[in-house]
Amino acid sequence: MPIPILQTWFAKKHSAAPPIKDRSQLRVGIPKVLNIWSTHQFWVGFLKALGISPENIIFSSDTSEEQGREFGKGRGTVDCCYPVKCMSGHYGELIFGQKKKINILLSPMIHSLPSILHGHVVDTVTCTRVMAGPENIKAGFMKENDVFVENGIVYASPFVSLGDRQLVSGQLYTSLKDILNLDPDETERAVQAGYQALENFTTRARQRSREILAWCAQNQKPCILVLARPYHMDTGIGHEIEAELQAHGYPILWLQYLPGDADLMNWLFAEDMRKGRIKTPFDISDVWTSSYSSNTNEIMWGAKVAARCPWITCVIRLSSYECGMDQPTYTPTQKIVEATGTLFFKFGDLDSTKPAGSIKIRVETIVHYLAKYSGSIIGRKLSWLSADCPLPRTSRERTPTRAMADEARAAEPKQLVVLH
């Protein structure tokens, strides 16, 4: 239901000239949750191409218990995993917590995802809770009275298959045309811009990860791979476990931005392809036949990369309490990673409260093992690979700094908006 202000903006003028669609004053709030963490650049690019000013694209803050208490209390409708439960706080923050009110709350139901494994797996759909989360959370804001309408906010929740490029314009046009006064052509152009922005960002982030690996290769230093879902980058969901390890000087790579360059991948998976176990380095059918779910597929692939890549000497597996998608993958990922002696530590059952004490103790343990075994793990894994390592031998690439590793961690959408 369009709010009056939008109707006023977009009301048909009685002049012959087509109305100018000035959307520069529209403020769009996006809950920074679930797979927005891996697709935020698409949404920023899409909205910007439609004429919405970057400063008017508002992402909610990182998840926190305070956010939930202040803005989401009493809005929960069911008990489930925290990445979904916490969404009430994000919605509430965007509705009640903005000095300058938003006009539209955009919470897409993301059905499928672009993925580095696209074409190598059966499908790249999202977890059923990821796609349906917005319907669940909106109920908490509509069950008694329509909080969106009361606050002059249009709730927009397009169902969108981001993994299926040819469907996206149609889906977004159908669901947003009345809200944003779209026409099909400009929607297509905006979708194009969205994908371009996402592609640019992902390419840069993967390049940074490669630089980290190159630095590790040159210096024979270890790094750590985080195997998790994209939203574990949220400090309130992943509880910054990787940051604690980074503070000990270990560069961190996130699965989502592992470099997929052909030279590197072919080097790591050459033997598997030669033996006919897999067809390409992105083929995971040797370990996971139900390859429907995008993030799950990538987790399985990441485990395989970690098992092979010499400088990834340790994997940190993060998983939220009651995560049904992760549950069947616990044992397979651990077995894959550990098969080459790579260290594997799982932080399961993550919930709203940061288990600070146990994290501290475990981080100490991990650091101890890393220091003690990384050298031998690197040497051993190198001995299984051919001598033609594609990573440079001379010191051409940057030394990873804390800032650089931070970037590879794919900075939060809010920071990235500032960049644009």
Binding site: T128, R129, E135, E144, T289, Y292, A339, T340
Partner: protein, 530 residues
């Protein structure tokens, strides 16, 4: 952390792949399957025996399957995964004790439904495989049967040929079992002779088993399809079944709350300890259960509009022709179900219109959201509410189910809009029966009051009394037959519809009453009503 072992090349965990089940082995190997009710499974067995397969359903789920499942798969699985894995595990353990590992791995294969789903259903077999590892039975073979392809070819070795006759046999078995199940649940609560429904049901299932076992052979491809669609074979058999049910005498004046059971697919279909035997419990608590037919799920799977995303990567040369074919298939499916219903005097419930379910759910849950029953849970609840098909919805939700938690959350919005919709979401963990049943009891109490109020309303409107109706029944015993059809006349409850039906269609009038006061009052009301 695992121990490093020197390996010639990197070698790690691999996905489970069954060794072949060859054509030659067919006579020696028994196909195990499960997951539905004993009625469905027995008729499916008929279809499998018909094709010369040895086939045996797994024993019905028991409470200790939960423990067996939990022991062998990663923590945090949904209870249907745990129960079904545990059931297979317990069966195999028992067999291994009796016959040894080698014989068991050679004697049995397990056939299970697969799905390209974003929930765990698409990954069930990963849990089964993990359990097999745990049992040291990696050599045991399990195969997936995709739910949306009739002709999948021979499966790993040719022992199992998933062709038209097999798929159609299984589908027709499911449809017939569904219809029988409807009959069962609408009869048992009203039977005069306790146990008679059960006896007739068993007899009917055995009769239909033979019907499936003796199904004539009409080739492996379209001949088989044409025969299933056009032949009278199954309708005739169901008419025979109907005759068996004619003799069951029922008392429809028993006022019962009508409870529609919905929920996660496995949990709602199951009859047994996996869902605390909740359907039986509801009947004991004076209600009539509207059971969930598997046919609705199959209908959802093949509905072309609702499932259009499933065809997004299809490489069809003529997509329009394919779309048309799918629409035609969907219509044929409904027509087939209705034809079989007619053979049972239209007593079983109609399949709900999928488009209507979609439309009803639309404001609350997008129809393309995948996983579990998707938007159907909301659609079905609203369908029952708007069409007065039940007094209450009992939604069975597995602990830790991903899609179900989402639609239950969205139901909060539905309840906000329809506060008088009686809705009991019951979380099933498998081991907290008292808590679940007492939650259900609270809503059931209200549902019973509504059923009673409706009944009184029907008596008031028609002026009839129980006594008058009893007299009429004595003169017209056919209305007390289980197969006498009482149409749905706007009340949710059977008793109220029955009263209205007698007044409207059987022209039953209060003057039959012996009491003149009753009669006068009743006549006045009936005049106003008729």
């Amino acid at each position: 952390m695992g121990q490093f072992t020197q390996l010639p090349s990197i070698s790690h965990y691999t996905a489970y792949r069954p060794r072949p089940f060859t054509r030659e082995e067919r006579d020696r190997v028994t196909i195990l399957y499960g997951g539905l009710t004993w009625k469905h499974e027995r008729l499916m067995q008929g279809a499998l025996h018909n094709l010369q397969y040895n086939a045996e359903p797994l024993p019905n789920i028991a409470r200790d399957d939960l423990d067996a499942g939990k022991e062998l798969i990663d923590v945090g699985a949904c209870c249907p995964t745990i129960f079904t894995t545990g059931s297979l595990v317990n069966f195999l353990k028992r067999e291994v004790t009796l016959h040894g590992k080698e014989e068991v791995t050679n004697k049995y294969v397990f056939l299970t439904a697969g799905a390209c789903g974003p929930c765990r259903f698409g990954q069930y077999h990963e849990s089964y495989a993990m359990a097999l590892d745990g049992l040291g039975l990696r050599d045991f073979r399990l195969f997936l049967l995709a739910q949306d392809e009739l002709d999948q070819g021979s499966n790993g070795g040719g022992g199992l040929d998933i062709n038209m006759p097999l798929s159609l046999g299984l589908i027709w078995a499911i449809l017939c079992a569904d219809l029988l199940m409807d009959l069962e649940y609408m009869t048992r609560p009203y039977e005069i002779n306790p146990g008679q429904t059960e006896r007739v049901l068993k007899e009917s299932v055995e009769y239909l088993y033979e019907v499936f076992r003796n199904r004539p052979d009409h080739g492996k491809k379209y001949g088989a399809l044409a025969w299933h669609l056009l032949s009278n074979y199954f309708a005739r058999a169901l008419r025979e079944v109907r005759k068996k049910w004619d003799v069951i005498e029922v008392d429809r004046l028993r006022v019962k709350a009508k409870v529609k059971v919905t929920g996660e697919f496995w949990l709602q279909t199951h009859e047994g300890e996996g869902n605390y035997n909740i359907k039986r419990w509801l009947e004991q608590e004076d209600s009539e259960v509207v059971p969930p037919p598997v046919a609705v799920w199959l209908h959802y799977l093949l509905h072309p509009t609702i499932r259009k995303l499933e065809h997004r990567n299809s490489k069809a040369k003529h997509p329009h022709a394919q779309a048309l074919a799918l629409h035609t298939l969907e219509r044929i499916y409904r027509a087939t179900y209705n034809r079989l219903r007619r053979a049972l005097a239209n007593l079983p419930n109609e399949l709900p219109d999928q488009e209507e379910l979609k439309r009803l759910a639309e404001p609350f849950y997008h129809f393309e959201l995948r996983g579990g029953e998707g938007h159907m849970l909301i659609g079905k609840a609203l369908h029952a509410y708007h069409h007065k098909k039940a007094h209450m919805i009992c939604e069975l939700s597995p602990y830790s189910c991903m899609p179900n938690t989402m639609s239950i959350g969205a139901m909060a919005n539905v309840i906000g809009k329809y506060p008088d919709l009686l809705y009991a979401p019951i979380e099933v963990k498998g081991d907290s029966e008292v808590h679940a049943l007492s939650r259900c009891q609270m809503i059931l109490t209200e549902a019973k009051m509504r059923a009673q109020a409706e009944f009184e309303d029907a008596l008031n409107k028609t002026g009839l009394t129980a006594e008058v109706i009893r007299q009429y029944e004595a003169q017209h015993p056919k209305v007390r037959s289980a197969t006498y059809r009482v149409p749905h006349l706007g009340y949710a409850g059977t008793a109220a519809n029955y009263v209205l039906h007698l007044a409207r269609s059987c022209r039953l009038r209060p003057e039959l009453s012996q009491d003149p006061n009753d009669r006068r009052e009743g006549e006045a009301r009936t005049a106003a009503y008729v």
